[in-house]
Symmetry: C2
Subunit: 606 residues, 2 copies
């Protein structure tokens, strides 16, 4: 059975992710804390100080702060910092002090509507509890102390009693899934089966009862309550809820060996990745319900593609690797797609600002469109923000970046190591060590040095058409396998390439996107004389790679055509336009240089 490698046993040492983690440490984690402080989220944990009358705690706030705490703990594992740890400890102090006698803890319901506890399925109590549990597990991983986990154990016992034993709440299962996967994390950390039992109970009851719908105004599919989980085969509803639920379903299938649940997980994964995912990994194409829509309905300009949904997809894929090991390379491909595109686009290059929505096309003019009534056409925001009123995405990035090591490799009992992602890092346990040197994704060159490793397997990325290795190897399940390896050198060829979209994806008809390795590229107005929509790209692009200086990744230029503007809005079709070079940058780096048009999918011009 493949096992996760503890964050204390693996560290990124250089390259692309070291830079991102340093940015996260120096800017992101402090900045999100400052924003949460200024917005009252941090102060709300101190019940002794009255909250401002016009700004009561919001039903999401526990989860926002809990995700930040979780991220801070992961970072503290590598980078001890008394001040930062003090902030975490103070928050735990408050939780401990103000936790109700019976174990309950919730900023909104304890401080604003204490009489309404567990009366509204839509009000995120169990969601907040789940995030606090995840933070408690991270704190345990950091300190080995059960202080926080004990607080949450008391809370989990209350939830177990109210929901599973007494069934005394107004609903049976969470309106926003999250606690299920958190309970699995509590179970993995403690081995205490009571968490497993409660997680399985919530999964079992979902879509299996009428009580949950007493006050739900949305369609049942909105929070994946339309069918019992084993019968769910198509990804529906709110995309973040969906990925969190599917993660927990994968956990459950791993632990219980439930084959029907496994089949459901595989079908849901395929429905998403074959039919409902943007090329950037973005999930959930409509702002209405932040939801999945129909297969292949993936408009670029209005793409919702919430950052959190991409983070949730990483969790889902990670457990799928364990649940369905023969196809692990494919799940790792999807993790890679999310990490380098749909997640990183969610944060500015300076680490301080965030996108909630990650569309694949920006028109600056959309910001100014239609002011003739008090209503406006809804388009994604064109500029990242430091915080949102519902600020789930920033702390989700805070917890993902410092824990990105989790996704690099797994190990088996028999000193068999599997490498899934490429990053300059060192992993070391009492039995074995692996050092990976690479400038990935600048190039595909990877050098791996092993000690005590019996079997090394290295994923061949789906985007890779050819590779070179100087070490004898064989391929199994899309991985290269090396027996008793010492030093392995690999070079995954990584030329820029044009990708197309399935013809059922109508919004990409006649268009191509540029990729290089796992990275999706985009063309911005600022690099293309503010004429990205006048450009078409050539099938013979003659790609040239530019400098890595600005984005840590080479820019790319390609042959294209630039069509001329004129007085006649609909002239007869004549030539293709004049030849030009189109200048592209990594998608994740978009919208970092002021408002500018941006496009991923370029019409093909020849």
């Amino acid at each position: 059975m493949r096992k996760e490698i503890l964050l204390s046993d693996i560290a990124i040492k250089g390259g692309f992710w070291a830079q991102k983690q340093q940015m996260c440490k120096e800017i992101t984690i402090p900045s999100v804390y400052s924003q949460f402080l200024a917005s009252g989220r941090i102060g709300a944990f101190d019940f002794s100080t009255p909250y401002p009358e016009n700004r009561p705690p919001h039903i999401f706030w526990d989860s926002d702060v809990a995700k930040w705490m979780e991220g801070a703990c992961y970072q503290l594992i590598k980078h001890p910092d008394h001040q930062l740890q003090g902030k975490v400890e103070t928050l735990i102090d408050h939780i401990e002090r103000y936790q109700a006698e019976d174990g309950y803890f919730n900023l909104y319901f304890q401080r604003v509507e204490p009489q309404k506890r567990y009366t509204h399925r839509s009000k995120h109590e169990l969601y907040c509890a789940g995030h606090l549990m995840e933070a408690a597990v991270a704190y345990y991983e950091l300190t080995g102390s059960t202080r926080f986990i004990s607080i949450m154990e008391k809370y989990a016992d209350l939830i177990d009693r109210v929901f599973r034993i007494e069934k005394s709440a107004a609903f049976l299962t969470p309106g926003h899934e999250e606690i299920e996967l958190a309970l699995f994390r509590m179970y993995y950390a403690s081995k205490n089966e009571k968490y497993l039992r409660l997680a399985l109970y919530f999964l079992e009851m979902r879509g299996n009862n009428e009580i949950d719908f007493a006050e739900q105004t949305e369609n049942r599919a909105y929070n994946q309550s339309h069918l019992p989980v084993r019968e769910q085969r198509e990804a529906v509803g709110h995309a973040v809820r969906a990925t969190y639920l599917y993660s927990a379903m994968a956990d459950a299938a791993i632990v219980t060996g439930d084959e029907k649940l496994k089949t459901a997980c595989i079908d849901l994964y395929r429905d998403i990745t074959r039919r409902k995912m943007y090329v950037t990994g973005g999930l959930g194409s409509t702002p209405v319900g932040e939801a999945f829509t129909l297969p292949y309905d993936l408009p670029n300009r209005t793409a919702y593609a919430e950052t959190c949904a991409s983070v949730g997809m990483v969790f889902f894929c990670f457990w799928m690797m364990k649940l369905d090991p023969e196809n692990a390379a494919e799940y790792a491909d999807t993790i890679e797609r999310e990490l380098y595109n749909g997640i990183l686009s969610g944060i500015s290059l300076d680490g301080s600002k965030f996108f909630y929505e990650n569309p694949l096309e920006f028109r600056v003019s959309d910001r100014y469109r239609n002011t003739s009534t008090t209503k406006r056409d809804r388009f994604p925001s064109i500029a990242r923000s430091e915080i949102f009123s519902c600020s789930c995405c920033p702390p989700n990035i805070c917890r993902l970046l410092p824990s990105v090591e989790k996704y690099i490799m797994t190990h088996d009992m028999d000193r068999s190591i599997s490498i899934w992602q490429f990053a300059d890092c060192e992993a070391k346990t009492s039995e074995w060590s692996v050092t990976m040197k690479t400038d990935f994704p600048v190039s595909g060159k990877v050098k791996i040095t092993c000690q005590g490793v019996k079997r090394l397997s290295v994923r061949v990325p789906a985007w890779c058409r050819s590779y070179i290795t100087d070490t004898p190897t064989r391929e199994e399940n899309r991985c290269l396998v090396f027996d008793n390896p010492e030093t392995v050198s690999l070079n995954f060829d990584m030329p820029a390439r044009l990708v197309s979209a399935d013809p059922r994806n109508a919004d990409c008809a006649g268009k191509a996107a540029v990729m290089r390795g796992p990275l999706v590229y985009c063309a911005e107005g600022i690099d293309n004389e503010n004429k990205v929509f006048a450009c078409t790209i050539s099938r013979m692009p003659d790609f040239k790679e530019g400098s890595c200086a600005e984005f840590g990744i080479p820019t790319i230029s390609a042959n294209g055509y630039l069509r001329a503007e004129g007085d006649n809005p609909y002239p007869d079709l004549t030539d293709r336009g004049i030849r030009c070079r189109i200048h592209l940058i990594p998608y994740f780096a978009m919208e970092n240089r002021g408002e500018t048009d941006m496009v991923v999918w370029l019409p093909i011009g020849d």
Copy 2:
């Protein structure tokens, strides 16, 4: 000065428009009447019968019925019909009987909120009054009787007193423009300057006062009240309101010779036609406010393109022909574009159903998209309806089709005739006669026989690249001029062609549309194996014309490529797909054979 030809002096005799007029007579006018009867609109004019409690008269109802009356009158000029005329007379009887002592008439305000008269700018009182005036003028054209026009004169006198003299209403100018152009029609019919004075007053005060905004919640641009009319240079706000206003502005500039107003009209026309009009003539690209947005912001799938706005554009262009005679051919081009595309698409081929919105792309799946919350993404309806709750478009078609003769030709005092549109028709006055034989737009062959005509000018359509005539001629202002003509034979070459869009129109980037003469074509799923979004069209289309049997116009087929579906949603770009023929039908005929995907702009595949 070019003059309109009276509907009594010109008649369509055969061909395309004869078929449409026959459909209108046999189906559309009776069907819209039945719908208006069933919905309570007709009954509401009889104040002696209480309206159903749950269905009081709506503030639009007078205008809906008035437009139908106007259309019925135009039709009765050619096709006397006692029963139909009886319906019109009965409605006039009711208006006469229930008109208030002081001249006021309004279904909603007299029957539902009599104390609220003239208190809400947004409630369409003057708009309804204007449509009743237009109907009265049409009735006068039909009968020569001033019965209805006298009723409306009394009403106009009241409006003049309340708005212009006493200024006792809560607002100064109409919240929905329309009465201005109606007052010009009253003026043209009666030569009584009081109508002219009031029309000019309303135009003068528009955007020139603060009183109008006491209760207006929309941006002032919504109803073109943001600037004095002479200073308006860009088309903004609600598109139907805009075209009605601009028509009246053109009327005013013609009558007064106001050069500043003329310049404003020309600039507004150019802003619309160069930057804010779909290739189909559709105007107003957003449902939010049914409004114009920014230049070149013309999304196809969500195009609003209200049928009424295209009708209004015909009015505007018609007066622009008179105001700016040197460019009359261009205005006539736009009338032609509207007539054959954006207006005709608004009615089903059987004459009984209507589109309010006329998008340039339909995806059947949009109808089923996103049911995961109680809200839905908004997409245009994919099926025409017999009536709408706000049913302005159906009666606008009722009055346009039977009066399409108005746009065919104009005449000057000196027996100089100008032909602007091509239709099989006869025009005859005491001084001259013109007979046009043509199967246009099946072909571009036109034969014109004249008697008593000193000078004949015939517009060369903008789409025409070459023509043949056997008669000596010269070209002036894009028109062929024939002196003392007897018989003129013309053949405008009308091959199918590919048109492109200006590169600033981002939604058409890399795409082409098929046109033939004035007709825009579209590809429907039903003719293309339900794979229109998988098709790209070739630059070497090898167009073939098909049968006229189904739509009265030839279908067209073109070379294209069909891309293959697969498991990988984002494969590397390889071949163009397999060669195929794309089957196209006239845009106006779309969505007449059940729900099917439809697309006007096809990606270019080579």
